[in-house]
């Protein structure tokens, strides 16, 4: 009997449950897709190092899954409580008929189980289908071979999804039974009768609060966007808190102000259905200022996460071609602690082990950089030193600057295939590609700015830093190197010795063999040297390693961004859709009345489009404004990756946002239209 009742209930309130079910299904499938990534990847042909990265990706994703599960759990609890509230009348009827609370709980339990099983089943089916597409993305991100790919189902992910969602449904069941035991018959009976009180907020107060919130937001924007460098963790927390509060109060005051403004524009207000439309919107916003705030903030996080993730990946792909133009680099640091013996050159180290350093290399450059203990970073800032130090107290101002001879640098550039430099006697150039640092250096740098390494007075050739680097890298991390004429260097003060070159590249086998040989020799050499108990160490970097790490990082960042972004978008869309649809159900009599007094269907549809449109748009608009400044802050951190492709990332983000959030809007609009449709 109870089962029958529950089944009927679900069927009857299908339109309420549709969005709930829809959300659960998307939640389940997204959860499955991201947890099945490693299973999909196993089908792809890829190297060992990439497989290790997949392992790492799996770990990161499953860690994030806990967070995602919490977000989805909260969403499901919210949605089910929301649906419960809509059924007060029904519960009241059961209770007046003498049904015990236990039985009501049992009905709810049965319903939750039905919906849970249904959504898991459908969600998993969709998830398994879509995860095949995900493999293409994995293959693309990891540059793997997909030819051997077959349809797969990750059993582990299926079990995990079922476990997590079963847990979430359990929480929902617990919540529901708590609510049922707390229910009072009198409240249930009166729940529908309580006529909605429309309180217009004091307009003066609204304007004051609006202006105040706007000012607070402007302050936070300024701090975040233009004062980024000075922000430490505590201040960041304060700013986030301020921003969130201001967001809340913006919506709070806007709900009052918007209507007032519209009402004062009588020509617009009393045109067609506008009166009705604006009143509907304002009452909606009035009753859910808090939810809209949460949605706005979630959208903000989503936009920033997605854009940053895409931006990191895009820039990395571009950077690596530019910033890693040779196949290997071996470096030996020569600055040693007092009392330790000065290390031999790399060539000698190899000789000690019986190797020829150049064996395996097709072309190479071997050179040293130098340092003058007197020429520190602090000295480079000249008269701006005090000012900069007070702003950035944590930079290592006593660190000696790296100096390279012009001829050595040009040899390297010839190997790299990059532009060579020329200097007259008594001139120098600073190379730097980390933008924040070059900005600092350029404060003091001007044509004729003088330094005196090793007692030679040199003037700056340019008033700017030149874009350049020595080390192979995936990112722009060169914070500054001096290029000076050959005769201005004291050759005993070696800072670092470099051995940089290319491997033979006739075929893939030849290249791999060359790399294997070099790796083997280097390992022997560095172990032998380590055994001499010296703090000084030699290090090696291969292009393939940089590539692998870079691909892995890019992929992990992309996956994380997509995962969190999608879950947040689903949550936002679901909350708005649920609220909007239940509002439509409540408004059925209003639309019936409008029809009776002769409002055309077209005007009614138009009103509905505007209502749900503004409802979805409002949090999005503020979120976009937040994001503009949020991204300005993020760009500051993304600088080492390069941010030239930011527009491409913004486009990608917009597409995803449009698909999911816009999808929810469309579903909401069409469902709403069906709900209020004329029954006859």
């Amino acid at each position: 009997m109870l089962c029958k009742l529950s089944l009927r209930n679900i069927r009857r309130s299908l339109r309420d449950y549709a969005i709930y079910f829809f959300t659960l299904v998307i939640g389940v499938s997204v959860f499955y897709i991201f947890n099945a990534v490693d299973g999909q990847a196993a089908m792809l042909q890829m190297s060992e190092s990439k497989k290790k990265l997949i392992e790492l990706l799996k770990m990161v994703l499953s860690g994030t899954s806990v967070f995602v599960a919490i977000v989805l759990g909260l969403l499901i609890v919210y949605a089910s409580r929301f649906l419960m509230k809509r059924r007060s009348k029904e519960f009241a009827l059961y209770m007046t008929l003498g049904m015990s609370k236990g039985k009501i709980s049992a009905i709810l339990l049965f319903e939750t189980i039905m919906i849970g099983i249904g959504s898991l089943f459908v969600g998993l089916l969709i998830g398994i289908g879509l995860s095949q597409l995900m493999s293409a993305l994995v293959a693309n991100l990891f540059e793997a071979d997909m030819t051997q790919y077959r349809f797969t189902v990750s059993l582990e992910a299926v079990v995990k999804t079922i476990t997590y969602f079963a847990l979430m449904y359990l929480v929902v069941i617990l919540f529901n039974s708590v609510i049922v035991t707390r229910m009072k018959l009198i409240d249930l009976i009166q729940s529908g009768k309580r006529s909605e009180q429309i309180r217009l907020k004091n307009p003066v107060l609204c304007v004051i609060i609006f202006l105040l919130s706007a000012a607070v937001l402007a302050y936070s924007y300024y701090q975040v966007g233009w004062n980024s460098v000075k922000i430490e963790r505590n201040k960041m927390a304060v700013l986030i808190l301020l921003g969130s509060l201001a967001t809340f109060f913006i919506f709070w005051s806007m709900s009052g102000m918007l209507l007032r403004i519209m009402m004062s524009m009588k020509g617009v207000y009393y045109r067609g259905l506008n009166v009705f439309t604006f009143r509907q919107i304002s009452s909606k916003i009035n009753t859910m200022v808090f939810s809209i705030t949460v949605i706005c903030l979630m959208l903000f996080v989503t936009i920033c996460t997605l854009t940053s993730a895409f931006s990191i990946r895009n820039s990395m792909n571009k950077n690596i071609v530019e910033l890693c133009p040779a196949d290997f680099e071996i470096g030996a640091d020569h600055i040693v602690d007092e009392g330790e013996k000065v290390p031999p050159s790399i060539e000698e180290l190899y000789k000690n082990c019986g190797y020829d350093m150049t064996e395996g290399a097709e072309s190479y450059v071997n050179f040293c950089t130098y340092y003058d203990p007197e020429l520190t970073l602090g000295k480079s800032f000249g008269e701006c030193y005090e000012g900069i130090k007070s702003m950035y107290p944590f930079l290592s101002y006593d660190m000696p600057e790296e100096i390279v001879k012009l001829s050595d640098y040009n040899k390297l550039m010839k190997l790299y295939g990059r532009e060579m430099l020329s200097l007259d006697d008594g001139e120098f150039i600073i190379l730097c590609n980390y933008k924040s640092m070059s900005n600092l250096r350029e404060q003091s740098l001007h044509e004729g700015f003088e330094i005196a390494p090793f007692g030679h007075t040199l003037r700056s050739k340019y008033s700017q830093c030149r874009d350049g680097f020595i080390d192979l890298a995936a990112e722009r991390v060169n914070i500054g190197i001096y290029v000076v004429p050959d005769n201005a260097v004291d050759e005993t003060a070696v800072k670092t010795e470099y051995f940089i070159g290319n491997l033979p590249n006739g075929s893939e086998e030849e290249y791999n063999a060359g790399e294997a040989l070099m790796t083997e020799h280097f390992t022997t050499v560095s172990e032998a040297w380590d055994n001499t108990q010296n703090s000084y160490a030699v290090g090696s970097v291969f292009k393939s390693e940089i590539y692998a790490a870079h691909i892995g990082l890019g992929a992990i960042v992309t996956f994380l961004g997509l995962y969190i972004g999608m879950v947040f978008l689903i949550a936002c869309g679901a909350i708005l859709a649920l609220k909007e649809l239940s509002e439509s159900v409540d408004s059925i009599p209003r639309y019936d009345m409008l029809r009776k007094i002769g409002v055309s269907e077209r005007d009614i549809s138009k009103s509905l489009i505007r209502q749900s449109g503004l409802f979805f748009l409002l949090p999005l608009l503020l979120a976009i404004v937040h994001s503009i400044f949020g991204m300005k802050f993020a760009v500051f951190f993304l600088e080492s990756f390069g941010t030239e492709n930011i527009w491409q990332s913004i486009t990608a983000t917009s597409v995803i946002l449009l698909l999911i959030y816009g999808g929810y809007y469309l579903v909401t609009y069409f469902c709403g239209k069906r709900i209020i449709k004329d029954k006859k």
């Binding site: 006529s195 009393y270 009166v275 009705f276 009599p589 009345m593 029809r595 009776k596 002769g598 409002v599």
Partner: protein
């Protein structure tokens, strides 16, 4: 010439095996400026009749002419437009929009006719005086009494100056004092503004305010009486007589 002409209309519900004839061949006419009541027991078909006249429901056969136009031929968009421009509605449960003030509720009827704002303001304040609701214009429905709500609803119905005002049990949810006040307003609108009003009711007292009562039984016109030069009291007594003759469970509230 008659304003409303109803010609042999029928309305059937249900399937062939269990057919319900809600209206079974009704014909009558209403002249401009008439105040008509339609009386009948529950289930006699009076509300169905009103719904058919108001184009909310469709007749199975027969024709209804308003001002010479056959409204049973109207379709889709034309229906809404017809209601908007020709009819005024008053319902038992007021049907005011709870999110709008009284003023906005009345103005809505005009704004959907695309009347300019200046005209709206003028017309609303005019009708508010006529229905004695000037001081509640800024209130929301939940802040008003039933009588006030029904007068606001009436104001909304007449503000567009419709050819025909249709009222479905307008006093059904009102106490006797509010009912009396509302009916006096109706009589005033009929007398002074020459408004044509058609009202469905099962209450003899309410019907006695009109100038003509049509009785309906089992979907057919049972009888019809006109007030002529009678006082309201005399007319009321005559109505009661017919109601007694009609039998059934028509309310005999005095």
């Amino acid at each position: 010439m008659e304003l409303l002409k109803i010609q042999q209309i029928e309305k059937y519900y249900g399937t062939r095996s269990s057919l319900t004839k809600a209206i079974d061949g009704i014909s009558f006419s209403v002249m401009p400026g008439e105040f008509t009541a339609i009386m009948g027991a529950s289930g006699s078909g009076k509300t169905t009749l009103l719904n058919c006249i108001s184009t909310i429901d469709k007749v199975t056969s027969g024709h209804i002419y308003l001002d010479g136009e056959d409204i049973t031929e109207l379709k889709g968009k034309q229906l809404n437009q017809f209601r908007r421009d020709n009819l005024g509605f008053i319902f038992q449960d007021f049907n005011l929009l709870d999110t709008l003030t009284a003023y906005e509720n009345i103005a809505l009827a005009l704004s959907i006719q695309k009347k300019p704002q200046s005209e709206i303001e003028e017309l609303v304040s005019e009708v508010a005086v006529q229905l004695n609701i000037t001081d509640v214009l800024d209130k929301y429905p939940y802040q008003m009494s039933g009588g006030q709500k029904q007068r606001v609803a009436s104001a909304r119905a007449i503000v567009t100056n419709p050819k025909l005002i249709l009222a479905d049990e307008p006093t059904g949810a009102l106490d006797s004092k509010s009912s009396k006040m509302l009916l006096e307003r109706f009589a005033y609108l009929n007398r002074e503004l020459n408004a044509t009003i058609m009202m469905v009711t099962h209450d003899s007292f309410t019907a006695s305010y009109t100038s003509r009562v049509i009785f309906i039984k089992d979907g057919k016109v049972f009888s019809e009486i006109s007030r002529g030069s009678d006082t309201r009291k005399q007319f009321f007594d005559r109505i009661i007589n017919v109601v007694t003759l009609l039998g059934g469970d028509v309310s005999d509230a005095l």
